[in-house]
Symmetry: C2
Subunit: 539 residues, 2 copies
């Protein structure tokens, strides 16, 4: 079956008629394969074009708002060339009189957002059209163009003789959810910067767009604060080798930007802060045994004004270091026993009229924190616990669901959205939990909008997040535990739910995608018995 070539004239093309045409063509005999996550509208034909690395060009469309010199796209062209031609090495196989016809990939974007950061409103929509001698990639933003390049790179394949081909193709694509994140935990184990960068690469291959950096927690504080350097020099596993310097953090953020990935920092408090106390005295609550301090410390002390002065200074720094408009404040799993033991905290409770209800104290603490971030023009994300004990939080705060079975998190989705709050779903994608067999199927079959509620409520689900907590994970096993299992969630978050309802149909496509990841040097583990043409070459 063949498809007509749609002239997009270098501009972003409205979907209406075009979409209709493709839906009609879509019913043809060609299997939809080769791209993960599955594009929204995808048609290809058996007509194929030969590609040759010696006669292959990325060009900017004449009417594109971004032109040569656009940092994001120039870097992407450099990155995608070897991904499209994996056998290519600059020295070999130069055939100056190659008989291949030239092939141009022409990129056009509506906005020159080359120097900006991707944000919550960034469009990632794109059109992609492959025909004789050329591919047209059109998008509203450079971030959409990045997604288009990723898709194009996945369309190119090699025959048994190593020749490259791409089939005649029409794609119209956009993400189902705006927020498609992966959480890495660099406190329970330190992850070297290159491991984070490698993960960002792999995230881009699956079209993830948020790196949630759970950077500090109880076990260690690797973030090197310029305002409070003692936090890492005393709270990291090692003050020199197990920290993220300001330069490391900038490197991660700018690398992520070039991949169209936001970096969402989390400085979780008032619980999960043991490591903070090593470098900042009078921050944590001294726990008491009877009338005397036990020597143990609990959560951040919410009764002291100095706590909020410290937090304001720390978050002022964090706000300027991390450009994203969101900051994750944590707020999960606060243990009240230490607060309850402390006479100063109890006196404060009484003064504030909280009685013996420590959830009020916690709510008070979080309110102060949200006010601090609001004053810094940042939107807060907090774990669901905050909603559970305290519904009076600012409406623009995002609630992050991490607890429970499907029945439980659906109930939470329902009640949070009923309160008009936006929500982010992580509970079904705690990918650090491993089990024997094909558990990717569980991640694939999640239905994030299947809960009791109105259409308006469903729209308040801004996306989902794959969480890789670090108890049992470091640079030795992160990559094979993450990939391709996280890719299953990626398709759920990007693609149309109806078109991707079959786990059975997804299986060979995900196997194929996993082989692509191997070919790109990502140590992605196998789904089941079998082989890839190019096995992992690392070890």
């Amino acid at each position: 079956m063949d498809v007509m070539y749609v002239v997009s004239s270098g501009r972003y093309c409205r979907p209406n008629l075009f979409l209709l045409l493709l839906i009609i063509l879509h019913s043809g005999p060609h299997t939809v394969a080769g791209v993960w996550p599955l594009p929204q509208v995808f048609t290809s034909s058996a007509e194929r074009y030969s590609l040759n690395s010696q006669a292959f060009y990325f060009v900017y469309g004449r009417q594109s708002a971004a032109q040569q010199g656009c940092s994001v796209l120039d870097a992407a062209f450099n990155r995608y060339f070897p991904l499209i031609f994996p056998d290519y090495t600059s020295g070999n196989g130069v055939l100056p009189f190659s008989d291949s016809k030239p092939f141009s990939v022409e990129i056009s974007v509506d906005h020159d957002d080359c120097e900006s950061y991707p944000n919550e409103d960034s469009s990632e929509r794109y059109n992609l059209s492959v025909s004789v001698g050329r591919a047209s990639l059109n998008a509203e933003t450079v971030w959409g163009a990045l997604r288009a390049l990723e898709t194009f790179s996945q369309l190119v394949y090699q025959d048994d003789f190593g020749s490259y081909f791409v089939n005649k193709t029409e794609i119209e694509d956009f993400p189902r959810f705006q927020f498609r994140g992966i959480l890495l935990d660099t406190s329970r184990h330190y992850l070297p910067v290159r491991t984070i960068l490698k993960t960002l690469d792999a995230m881009a291959y699956s079209k993830f767009n948020v790196f949630h950096w759970h950077i500090v927690d109880d076990p260690s504080f690797p973030y090197q604060s310029s305002t409070f350097p003692d936090l890492s020099s005393k709270g990291a596993f090692h003050p020199m080798t197990h920290i993220y310097t300001q330069s490391d953090v900038r490197r991660v953020i700018s690398y992520a930007r070039l991949l169209g990935i936001r970096v969402l920092p989390e400085f979780d408090s008032p619980g999960h802060t043991k490591s903070w106390g090593k470098g900042q005295s009078n921050l944590l609550t001294p726990c008491y045994k009877g009338n005397i301090p036990s020597g143990v410390f609990g959560p951040v002390n919410p009764a002291l004004p100095s706590t909020y002065q410290f937090m304001a200074r720390l978050f002022k720094e964090v706000s300027s270091v991390f450009p994203d408009t969101y900051i994750h404040l944590g707020g999960d799993e606060v243990d009240f026993s230490c607060w309850r033991s402390n006479p100063d905290v109890k006196a404060f409770m009484s003064k504030m009229g909280f009685g013996a209800d420590f959830t009020k104290l916690e709510a008070y603490y979080i309110e102060n924190m949200v006010n601090i971030t609001s004053a810094l023009n940042k939107t807060s994300i907090v774990w669901q616990d905050v909603f559970d004990y305290h519904e009076r939080i600012p409406k623009d705060t995002v609630l992050h669901i991490w607890k429970g079975t499907p029945a439980k998190y659906k109930e939470e989705l329902s009640s949070i959205t009923k309160a008009g709050m936006r929500v982010l779903l992580a509970a079904p994608w705690y990918i650090n939990h491993i089990s024997y067999g094909q558990d990717w199927r569980n991640y694939y079959t999640v239905q994030p909008q299947d809960f009791p509620g109105t259409e308006e409520q469903k729209k308040l689900v801004i996306g989902g997040e794959v969480c890789m907590w670090g108890e049992y994970v470091d640079a030795t096993n992160l990559t094979p535990r993450l990939w391709p299992r996280a890719s299953a969630a990626a398709e759920r978050l990007w693609s149309d739910e109806k078109q991707t309802s079959s786990v059975g149909k997804a299986f060979p496509r995900l196997q194929d995608f996993r082989c692509k990841l191997l070919r790109r040097g990502i140590q992605a583990e196998p789904l089941y018995v079998g082989h890839c043409k190019h096995e992992y070459q690392g070890i």
Copy 2:
């Protein structure tokens, strides 16, 4: 506390008095740490000696039966030098006028078995004594000397400034079990040769001594037979890139030999042979649907004389390629339904007087196979299934237990040893089965000799095996799934059970050992929250 230096005069030293002395000293305040698996008798003192890579020598004891030119030990000296001095690179830090005192590691063995292969009777016993300026390593065989070198390498440590030290130490050591194996499955996924070699390295660090190579199975036949080349050219995942050539196999065997590791090949039949049928017609049983062949094939056809002619030729080749005196014949999980459907098989059953009892047919098949290997002077190992349906197998056959819960495998241990047969335990160490958390504890707490039976029966347990079946494992995730989880089993198989009964005491030692593995480039995953001074540098 200090220990006396025991003069061993370059000969293997009988344990009697020496052991008594060490047991007395053993009750001192020094923690037994630093060596995994734990030596049988271990005493160290706070007295430490500085080591310098520029003044460090391996020497053969004057009375040693092996001298320079001994392939096994010469290679070991080359291997252990950079393991003892991990910062050393040949070009750097040469201090010709270093003020360090020289330190010699003097190796003496009783037998010049340098060119032999390790076998089931090889002694791995050794004594190790570290004192001022020297270490004496004495063993009966070169294989014992290898274990001594591994232990010595684990005794050396660096201070915060990078200087190397070793403490005054006395060790008397020998393995609890003779057979300490790891099974790799190269049929469900192909493992590159370098992945196998890397695994052999790591096995030596944990004192494993048998590589059970489950080389072929249903999904693929990667062994390139010189007698039947079609088996791999038609039965491998790919006839060129996913095979083990004769040269690959020789390389694995000779590499393993230098590490004191036996290579036990398994060519499992009559089940688990789907891939065999692709390159060898008339080998598998044609299954019938009613009166006509269904096109599907079942287990090896036991009714045809040609089957045994083929097997005799194949195993003749295998026997000469693999020098070990053991061959694993498989014999597990035979599905009778195909045999039952086949009229020729049924006619054979009737002719042999087997009635409708297909276990008799299976027993007949295995008897023939065992006779083939016996004629080749090889001892057979078979999976427990063979015992379960057929107790009349030659007494020197080893039964391999793979099924069930502790209650079940203990019953099997009891009944097999009651029948006077030797047994190898794998059931509790199916390490491909993963679960969230510290499942190494389960591997550590196995008690292989805790079953109803006499002392004589207990002695028939020749050892244990960690099985890494390949459904979900290939080169991308093999190493972090295997290490350090397999090391837990290694200590159970090497060390004294009473001295290693506490999981709590093992935990920090295993964490420390895992950091050593990282330092040696083994991608061993973490046991829990924490860090190593030198994290994994691979990704």
